[in-house]
Symmetry: D2
Subunit: 296 residues, 4 copies
């Protein structure tokens, strides 16, 4: 990272990330690393995990340079599928750094998580495109426009919810979104939304789940007298606040806090935890299995 910028210096954008989930058995690492080596892929990072060496599930993430690759993308992927993935019954993905993921944002009125994501994108901390922002209120339009991102208001009422969700899904598909982030979007999504969109949706819940599921967690935390408050970022599933957890954090609080000051303090945790989860997702570090995650 500090060496001279020699002509052979690899292009940091010319990398790919391979993720693998498969039944554990001997020889997986050997097969994958042998395949990559044989085709000239230089491994930068590699992480593995196994729930149990005997009868468990195996997870792997490998980041490698494409510079020396002896095949183009398609034949490379086809070869990997045949030679490695199929024999080991792998679920696998291959993401190219040169093609950043496209992130839709859904937001209501709170600006802290929303602005935090936009700034991190601007600073280069999040390697994403943000092609569309959808809100049920007009409040944050000016902020979105300041960042040059299309901002759509789709109001939601009890009566129009199905229609509104269909419109949201249409907008996200039109924008080519690869995944969506609920940056304190204050509506519960239906199963139809999730099925219709068909891609990962990341939420930030303002409590340490599974404590304080549902509405008003800061009020609930205040009433219970807890000495820590937290935030949880998770993939959205049909069951409320029960999807696979990606990131969590807490901060200490005392008897001096009110529900209002808990809400204010909690904002700092919420945006940090959401940003950490989104970055992990964007960098292909999160592998879901059952209702849990491996975060490399």
């Amino acid at each position: 990272m500090t060496g001279p910028s020699a002509p052979s210096m690899p292009d940091p954008l010319n990398t790919a990330t391979l993720t693998i989930t498969c039944p554990d058995r001997q020889g997986i690492v050997a097969a994958v690393s042998q395949f990559l080596f044989a085709h000239g892929a230089n491994i930068i990072h590699s992480d593995q995990h196994s729930t149990d060496p005997v009868g468990g599930t195996f997870f792997m993430r490998m980041e490698f340079h494409l510079d020396g690759l002896d095949l183009a993308r398609e034949p490379f992927e086809r070869a990997f599928a045949q030679v490695v993935a199929e024999p080991f019954a792998m679920d696998w993905t291959l993401g190219y750094r040169a093609q950043p993921k496209r992130m839709a944002i859904l937001v209501s009125r709170y600006d802290h998580c929303f602005l935090d994501l936009l700034w991190r994108k601007r600073r280069g901390e999040l390697h994403v495109e943000i092609p569309v922002i959808i809100s049920n209120h007009d409040d944050l339009r000016r902020d979105a426009e300041m960042f040059g991102i299309p901002f759509h208001v789709v109001p939601v009422t009890r009566e129009t919810k199905a229609e509104a969700e269909a419109e949201q899904v249409r907008l996200m598909h039109a924008a080519g979104a690869d995944f969506a982030v609920l940056a304190r979007y204050m509506q519960i999504l239906s199963g139809d939304f999730l099925t219709g969109f068909g891609r990962p949706v990341i939420n930030i819940h303002h409590s340490f789940l599974p404590a304080f599921i549902g509405a008003n967690p800061y009020r609930a935390a205040f009433n219970r007298g807890v000495k820590l408050i937290g935030a949880t970022s998770h993939y959205v599933t049909e069951e409320l606040d029960a999807g696979p957890i990606i990131a969590q954090d807490v901060i200490p609080v005392t008897h001096r806090e009110t529900p209002d000051s808990l809400m204010r303090m909690g904002r700092d945790v919420e945006r940090q935890v959401l940003a950490r989860a989104v970055k992990a997702h964007v960098d292909d570090r999160v592998l879901v299995y059952g209702n849990k995650t491996v975060v490399f």
Copy 2:
């Protein structure tokens, strides 16, 4: 703390701690501090809290030297009751440093919280006497004896539970215990035990309450895939794991952990959190109101 040890140096053991809980209204601080000043009590620490200046509850803790006091203990307490406490409808306690609290310990087989309390006592970190240890197993007898503390085995079965609890209460009363600590005591206490003992009982629960109430919280945390595990120390009430929380903490965990390794990692949090709660109780820093605590 760094000055020369002059003859006028006050005796660190000759101090008292006053705690007050009362309806909030103007003039409380003035009345208390005026009373202490008038009688020659030199305030070392003072903490106050109000849930709401209008119609709320007021809490106060004052630590002061007794060296210059113009009254003996009894007349001082009588005067305080008449002049200050009654007019303001105060609940109050007065603890003297020269009379350390007497702590009973109930424990089963896990040694980590138990040993941590004994060592802290030995090092002078906990200003207590430990007149009695009660266990439902014989495993930790040698450790207790190493510290010279009477160790009683009171086995508990479903059939003998009422009897066993009566014996435990009898042993604690006989030892003059002011409060009891459940240092991973693996039995649920009945309301009869709590009423019979009639003094505070502090428990350590191995989760971040209110998440994972009840048995096997590490297994439950593992199944839910949380990214933090925690511990909670609270006063015991009849409702399981629902009493006023004194202290909580968490540590980060990853997908690499198993229920067993969570249990191992959790031990470090459990003993820290329990020690913090016990120290706060021993130093008269915890004021209970409703199902919550003020911890000064």
Copy 3:
């Protein structure tokens, strides 16, 4: 905080904060609280600290409602000076919530601390006015203007430094600034600047001081192989990075980080720590003595 909004509900802006530093001796709390009570001031919060009850320094912060006050501000302050402050040789300040402090910001090119302060101000988390922003570069003009705050570029070179500092001080005085914040301002301030401005200046240093004083602390941290990186917010004095510390925090790092990724991760700590320090200053919670602080 939860009661009905009755007519007698005090105005949250109609409060004042009194801070006191004086030689410790008996009767201070009694005198202050008696005075406030006698004049109808209802205490909301009160904190005290003593470095040593015998021969030490005493610190106090009292927040109270002005609604029931029987005197106007000036006679109240005059009375307090005569009756309480002078007999006890107090240094004291009295801040009125209705008159928020005026904060100047100095910034260079990094935007993270800068934007964090502006957003917190916009959300109502920081009770300040921001009348002026000064930078040695033009990069952040658009952000400043988005918030409607005057933005002045004062370039600084080795030759023009004295002149530039004089211009900065002039701009801050003209804007009526009560204090200044260096939100990653990459120039060392001279004693002339500090004397000329004559008011508190808060800096954020991107290390856990006193480790890694001076330039390039992330590089230094990388070279030393530390397992935590941190940030320190402190009042600026003539000696570089040696002023009274207000707030510090750290985050864990591993061997996987590079100087660049440490810098990226550190940004989150820097802005949190600076915001915490600025909020404490704005709310009159920081009392300086010698080269240290009491932060209530």
Copy 4:
């Protein structure tokens, strides 16, 4: 961890850990994993790190079962050396779980780190043998004997230091110690000691290094007014407190603390950090390069 206890269940003690440090280049992972696979070693955990894929250093740790190995230890090691290690110019170690490391402890009078290590050993948290304890005082003899470990007093004075160190080294060699831990041993070790012992020595320093090198760090922290105190565990080198850092942690403190209370609070951090470092060393997770560590 959840499977049925089938006859094929591998013996958890029949595992080995391979660590590798070598110049980075393509094909290392492939070569190592291919070799292990070919010889029937089932990989349980694998971690890799590279300081730079171009011209950097590569680090690897692989934990694997020996059950299915087709070679005995010696021929296996010989084959690995020839086929893999030599071609890639590897520094490597191979540790067998069935042969726990032998840890010498040096201690003075403080008991907290010392007792913490003994308890963790007793609870099975540290996979070590402790064949010898050496102290310059007699204070902790009874504790050592309670755990059944030989306890030697080697007094150290300025005059007898060289002689005393020679005796310490002799005792450690006689006990077959693989490494030593300074559990708050209050003497500075000479280069002769380090050379004479010739094996890793782990120290715990009671500050966040590189802040507060040398004696009395809590007093120095108090004087500087820091808002965090910490502890650092590192390998001992000839330069005081400057060796490769293995683990660090901090806790928040306020103006209320004194040097004495900082020392008390610090004890909890010291023992946690030392235990974490020792466990990492014992489990072959620490690879040293230059003055830094990779901790897998």
